[in-house]
Structures are given as structure tokens and as C-alpha cells.
Point group: C2
């Protein structure tokens, strides 16, 4: 389905900007007229385009290098919005340390001027790719 | 803004269904024509209306009682979609144990037949309400 692959292409552009620590590319990924919000792993909500981009700027400044692998990406589309759910695998060099981590992530996009642009990123720490079974209890 | 409060009303209907462990009410909250997906705390993605509702049924069956408090709810609207970011505080009685837990959560809604219906729930375990500061490092 074309729209799902278009959403996945915008999702890839987001991770390319992230991996290159490229703030200009990151700013082009995020919506400009729709509201924007972001939950970085383990952090409170950041919202508003300026604050969201400032949060990425802070992360990029504190990161020497990041290598990303994306697992189990699945895209959903409903009209002019779409979302991708995936597991990020990150190898991050920061403050002279190499950290390997996983995040269960939702990226939500809206169609803006014919382009799929990011409006919400929610990445939550997870120990490793998760078992493919159904929950029977909470927490 | 009326639409934001409408999205928050649908968000409340979701948590009312959850707290009452009411599967019929829960099924009315979720979209019927748009795609649906759900990330329960610590679990892999569940998608498709039947599987999503089956996952809630499993949770409800394994839960004797749940008390929910919602913190820091913030709603965003863009056209016919909206999302709420919040911190869930849960007191869950399951398997004879009382568990207290927090989850950083995104709930995404689309307007379907004039109603805001849930298309995606992503709840991630979090130790407690998070500090209100900006991230400078990842993980």
C-alpha cells in the first residue's frame, strides 16, 4: 500500500537524521503547522516544535555517535495520519562510554503539504526485543 | 478548544472502561474502521481490532481490581486525529497481589462517525512521574 510505504519512508528519514546527528534534517522531519510532542526514553513529555527540536539538539550535542537498527517496524495509516510502531536498537557513544539500549517506539505522522511529517515520538526503554505473546497481566 | 476536550473525553471513556474492567465499554472506545494497535507495558505490539480487544480481555480476566489515577494529561489535535500523552498511576490487584505501577502513555484517536475513537495505545513502564527537565543524553 503506497501510503504505508510513504509513512515508512518518512520514518526512515527521521532515523537517518537521528543517526547522522543532523539537526537541520531533523527539523525537516517534524511537522511545522500541526502540534508536535516527544517522549524521549525515561523523560517527561516535551511539546511544541521549538522545545522538541531543542531536546534533539541537546541529545545530539551530548552524543558522539549513534548506530541504529530498527526491528519489527509496522506502519498503520488512517486518512491523513499514520503511525509506525517498532523497536529501536541503539549503540550510543556518549561521554566516552558505549551504551547499547533498546526502545519500544511509536512515531505518529500527519500529511502536511503532501509530505508525511512527524507529530509525536514516544520511545520507551525496553530490556530487549519482546516476546511475541499476549499479555495476561499488567506490569 | 472544543476538539481537545472531546479527545480528552474519549480518553476518559477509555480509562473508565479499563477501571471497570468492562470489555463492552472497551470495545466501544476502539475504532472500528481505522486500523488499531496497542503496546501494553513491557509487551510487543498487538494489532488488529480482534487481537487488541482479546489482549484487554486477557488483562481483565487476570485482574481482580484496578484503580487508576492520571497525571499530566496533555491533548493535541490535528484535523481528524488527536493524541493524549499522560502518566498512568495504577494500583492493580492481580493473583492476590497488590501492585502499584506507573506508565508513560500515548493514546492516539481518530474521528470516526463524528466520535473520537482510539486507534493506538502505547503504555511504557516508568519508575514514577518523571523530572520536568530536558534530556541531554539518551538512555
Amino acid at each position: 500500500m503506497e501510503t504505508a510505504s510513504d509513512v515508512l519512508a518518512s520514518n526512515k528519514a527521521f532515523y537517518d537524521a537521528f543517526e547522522r546527528l543532523d539537526l537541520d534534517a531533523m527539523s525537516r522531519v517534524w511537522a511545522t503547522t500541526a502540534p508536535t510532542s516527544c517522549v524521549h526514553p525515561g523523560w517527561a513529555l516535551v511539546h511544541g516544535r521549538e522545545r522538541v527540536l531543542a531536546s534533539w539538539e541537546g541529545i545530539f550535542k551530548g552524543t558522539e555517535r549513534v548506530k541504529l537498527s530498527l526491528h519489527e517496524s509496522k506502519a498503520f495509516v488512517s486518512g491523513d495520519m499514520g503511525w509506525v510502531v517498532l523497536v529501536e536498537e541503539l549503540e550510543v557513544a556518549q561521554q566516552g562510554q558505549l551504551v547499547r539500549a533498546f526502545a519500544q517506539t511509536t512515531n505518529t505522522f500527519v500529511r502536511e503539504d503532501g509530505e508525511w511529517r512527524l507529530v509525536h515520538h514516544h520511545a520507551s526503554p525496553t530490556p530487549a526485543p519482546m516476546p511475541k505473546k499476549r499479555p495476561t497481566t499488567l506490569h
